[in-house]
Structure formats: C-alpha cells, structure tokens
Symmetry: C2
C-alpha cells in the first residue's frame, strides 16, 4: 500500500540518493533527473515518510501544543490561531491536554519520545516551572499566556497581568465606586495571582475605597455564577473586577437573576474581550487581551528558536486596553 523511496528509485532506474535529493530542496539534482524521478513518483503515488527522514535530519516539524484550558471558550480561538499559524509554516501541532495533570514529567517524556522540535505551552494558569521542565529537557519552548517575569527562564509571550489588575482598579476608581471587589479564578493560577496583586496595589492608593476579594473555583461560567450568588446573600460590592470574561458572564447572570440591574446596581469589568463579550445581550466592559498578536508572536518566536536553539530567553508582553461597553456606570 505504501510506496517507498526504493521503489521509486527502481522504477526511475536511478539510485535511492537521487530520489531522496529530488525531494530535499537545496540538493544538487539535474533537471533531467528530477523529471525522471518525479514522473516515477507521480505514477506510484509516492510521498516521502516524514518520520523516517526525521531520523537522520533530527527534525520532525512536530510541535507539542500543551494546554490545560479546555473549558474557556477563548481557548478555542487560541487553538484555531495556533493550528493555522503552525500549519502555515509547515509545522504540525501535537495536542496535549493537561487537564488534571500537574506534573510536567509525563508530558516531557512523551513529547521527547515523539522528538518534537519544540513545545508551545498555551496556558494562563500553569506555573513557570512547568515550561521550564521542557527547557531543562533540551526542548525549545515558548510559554504563551504565561506569567511574565523580569528574568524569564523560558520564552514567555503574553500580557502583564498585574498591570491589567491596576488598569481595572483605575477604571473603577475613575467611575467613582466606593466599594469594589476582585472576583478571581482559581487562586493557584498565576494569572489570578498577578491580576489580584495588581488590583490590590492600585487600590491601596485609595484607602477610602472598600475592597474585597474572592475566588471562583475555575475559570468558568458556572463557577462565576455560583460565587456571585453566594456573594449576593450578604451585601455585595458596588462593582466587580472579574478575573476573566467567562467569570464576568456568570456573575452577570447571577446578578440579573437576583433582580438587580447592571450597571445601575452593580458594575462589572472583565478581562479578555472574548467574542461573547460583544454580544448585545451581554455587552461587557472588559480589558482586551490581544490574543491574535500573542499567538502570532509566539509562533514567530518558536520558529526563531528552532533555528537558534540557544537563543536568550525573552518575554514579549503586549499591552491591553479597556474596552468600554455597558457594564460599568459612567464616570460621575
């Protein structure tokens, strides 16, 4: 069923090397030879075995795409962008789902067994140590949506989560709220921690404003809704900074269901600017995270690192901006 180089060589009446060369660009082959070989290959329906060749070239063009965010709709867009971007450059994503898996060791071993050329860790919740495990194993790695650090050990592409927290805080202050709260995702997630600390540090400048915090169990609609329903039982804050849009939308539904209005009674500002945030029945004021840029920059960085494995690690941080829609009251 499967045609090998040897059969093509026999049919074309040439050596195996000749066939190999016509399918390797940059190799020295005469036009006549190339035509002969291509004809034979055509007739036999030959296409070279990428894995066999990887054995000698040391390159598979496989890229591990590792994530644990399979419940946040924004990651569908992330996967779409990654897969297309990688495909366009002739790279093949080997998808690894890390859900309920915290130890990098297994993933590292598996991806090395498949000789991936590099690994993209696409996660806003995994700690830097996770991606570092790949680097320590000698695999080029880019951590997308990861924690930015002043001295990164691996390439990181993402946003400044602490700055986003401050940005949200400034926005709430500017609107004149006097009692605000942070409603984050899981406390173990680095993005939650950074958004939280940024938010708190900015609010610390305004001691007259009351600040509270709580954390949902996951970055999900249900978790946000559940947490908000709980908060509504006692006296809720005037405005919430939610650690993620999908949380915001859960929070929004909880508030509306309890008969209160947004932004009249309670304000919400989210983070991500997911597609749904634009929906007219949601119309969420949120902080835009430039995921297209993050993904395409991650891919560029990966490709650069493949060509230059010892490249000095860098952090690429993209600015975010507040998208004003309808869930915060106007400034007084």
């Amino acid at each position: 069923m499967v045609v090998t180089l040897k059969e093509v060589a026999e049919r074309a009446g040439v050596s195996r090397s000749a066939v190999s060369r016509t399918f390797t660009d940059g190799a020295s082959v005469s036009d006549k030879m190339r035509r002969k070989v291509e004809k034979a290959a055509q007739e036999l329906g030959y296409s070279p075995n990428a894995l066999a060749s990887s054995l000698t070239t040391g390159r598979t063009k496989l890229i591990g795409l590792v994530s644990n965010n399979f419940h946040n709709p924004i990651f569908l867009e992330v996967f779409d962008l990654f897969t297309r971007g990688l495909q366009d450059r002739g790279l093949r994503p080997l998808l690894v789902n890390l859900t309920d898996e915290v130890d990098p060791a297994n993933s590292v071993r598996m991806l090395r067994q498949y000789s991936v050329d590099g690994v993209v860790v696409a996660s806003s919740t995994l700690p830097p140590g996770f991606s570092k495990a790949f680097r320590d194993a000698g695999v080029p790695v880019v951590h997308s949506f990861g924690r930015s650090s002043s001295s990164p050990q691996v390439h990181v592409v993402g946003i400044d989560n602490a700055e986003c927290g401050r940005m949200a805080a400034r926005e709430l202050v500017a609107r004149g709220y006097s009692n605000v709260a942070f409603l984050g995702g899981p406390e173990a997630a680095t993005s939650t921690q950074d958004r939280h600390s940024g938010f708190m540090s900015e609010m610390a400048k305004h001691p007259q404003i009351e600040v509270n915090c709580s954390f949902a169990e996951a970055y999900s609609f249900d978790a946000g809704r559940r947490e908000m329903l709980r908060l509504l039982k006692s006296k809720p804050a005037e405005a919430y900074f939610c650690g993620d849009d999908v949380l915001s939308i859960g929070v929004l539904s909880a508030i509306l269901d309890s008969g209160l209005k947004v932004p009249e009674n309670i304000g919400i500002i989210g983070l991500n600017d997911m597609e749904m945030a634009r929906w007219e029945n949601i119309d969420l004021t949120t902080i835009h995270q430039p995921i297209r840029q993050i993904v395409s920059s991650s891919i560029e960085l990966m490709v650069a690192t493949l060509n230059e494995p010892d490249r000095y690690p860098e952090a690429r941080i993209f600015p975010c901006s507040v998208i004003e829609r309808g869930t915060l009251r106007p400034a007084p």
Copy 2:
C-alpha cells in the same frame, strides 16, 4: 543530549536487542537482564524514540484529528473529550485545522507523511467524500458528527440529523404554533441539509401550518443574530427551529434587543445542548446531542479498527432528546 538505545546497551554491557526487548512488552527478557538494563536506562535518562520504532513496527500511535469547526464552542468540549480519550489509550492526536480548506488531498498527503495510524474527522459540515478520501488512501478513519447514511463507506458516529429535524417539528406542532420557520447554518453543511429536510418532511404532514426557511452564513452567534435581525424587519414566524445552539443564542439576542419577548412573542428551539444553553439568562429549549457518547464511541471504534483494519464500515447513531427549558411556550 538525547540518549540512544546503543548507549544504554554499552553501559549495561548487553546487546542492543536486549535493551530493545526490555522496553517492548511481551518480549522475552530475564529478570536479571531487565534489572541491569533498567538501571542503565535510569542513570542515562533514556526513553525510547517512538518514531524510530514506528519504522519497523509500522505503528506510530499518532491519530490525525481533523476538524473545520473552530468557531463553535461545543467543539472545545469535543476536543477536550477527544484529546483526553485518545491520551488515555496511549494515542497522540495530531491536530489538523481544515478552516478554509475543502480539498482532502493535502490533508491526506500530510497525514500519510506522518504515518498516522488512523484519522478522526470531527465535523458536522464536511461531506462524506472527505472522509472517504482517507479510507481510499488506506488509512483507518472514523467520521464523528458526520452524515449518517444507510450504506456508509466509512465509519460514522453521530446523530440522525433528519430525525432531529422531525423531532423539532413535532415539538413545535405540539405547542400549537401555526407559523414556524427553520433557521439553519450554512446550506452546504450536511448537518444543515439533513436537519432541514427532516424538519420539512414532518411539517409537510401539517399543511395548515405556515413554514419558512432561511440560512445563516455560519454556525456562529453573529451569523444567527444577523439573520434574525433581517427576519425581524418583515413579519417573523411564531417559532424558530435553529440548526444549532450558537445560532439560537444569536437569534435570542436579536429578538430581545428588538423589544420582543421569548417565549411570549417568539419561540426558539435549538440543537446541541451546549453548556451555555443551561445558563439561566439563556435557558434555551434545545435538542440534546450526546457528544460524550459520540466521542467515546468514536474512540472505541477507532481502536477497534486499528486492530482490524478491514472491519466492515458501520454507522453508530445515537438518539437525541428534547430538553425543555424556557424558550418555547407551553403546549396549549
């Protein structure tokens, strides 16, 4: 950096075959030998190269996971289920994004270059010919969410879309609507066609009920919303069967924005029962598609086909059921 079998053999002072055998289960190795080899392997940090071994065994454990549905949130769940299910069986998903790609030839070539053991086509819109191209290339293939056929050429796992259309029609009839409409996804999608024809065939039994049809440009919120806004300009129907939940939610938002109420003024029934359909501010009456079962059955079928490549093609069709929530008026 990378440790090979040869080095382990040298360190353990044994033959290469011995090392190979300790890492192949079912091979004949004495306990003493195994201990020696494992010790050396441990010390060197060896793990076998899966691709090199695939060369002789003919198995890579790679499975092509091919889809063109990267904009429907339900597919994030589908990818989650597929990746986890495959991983649990030691299979590795090679993700292929087919967005704006209609010709199977490229994907077939690429996946054969990587010697995938099998291909899962996860798409509700691709025609049967697409998955057949893989079979013709000698690759085991399962088409999940594909068009069911009485004489399938490849394995198909999914639902009976025409029956879903009839089911929706019966539901609308039972509620006493006298003017209904189908609002489908792209007309080229097989799932749209089948849902449409099922819906029409059932409605044909009730000539006194007025029926209209239209099609959104994509299975997306925006497309549904846009189409509904257009329909609202003239006289809309009393109830809509939307070809997918994301369409339904777009339609819902268009209706609410125009000042009408659901289900008082206009009824909606969707299809899929995506997570969001349960959200209290949406509360969509819809037809449940059992995606967990579809995915796990697809994986089972894939595994079975790997062990028995000439397995006779079969269609596994799972029943759907109406989930009553709040977007259809009660039966009179």
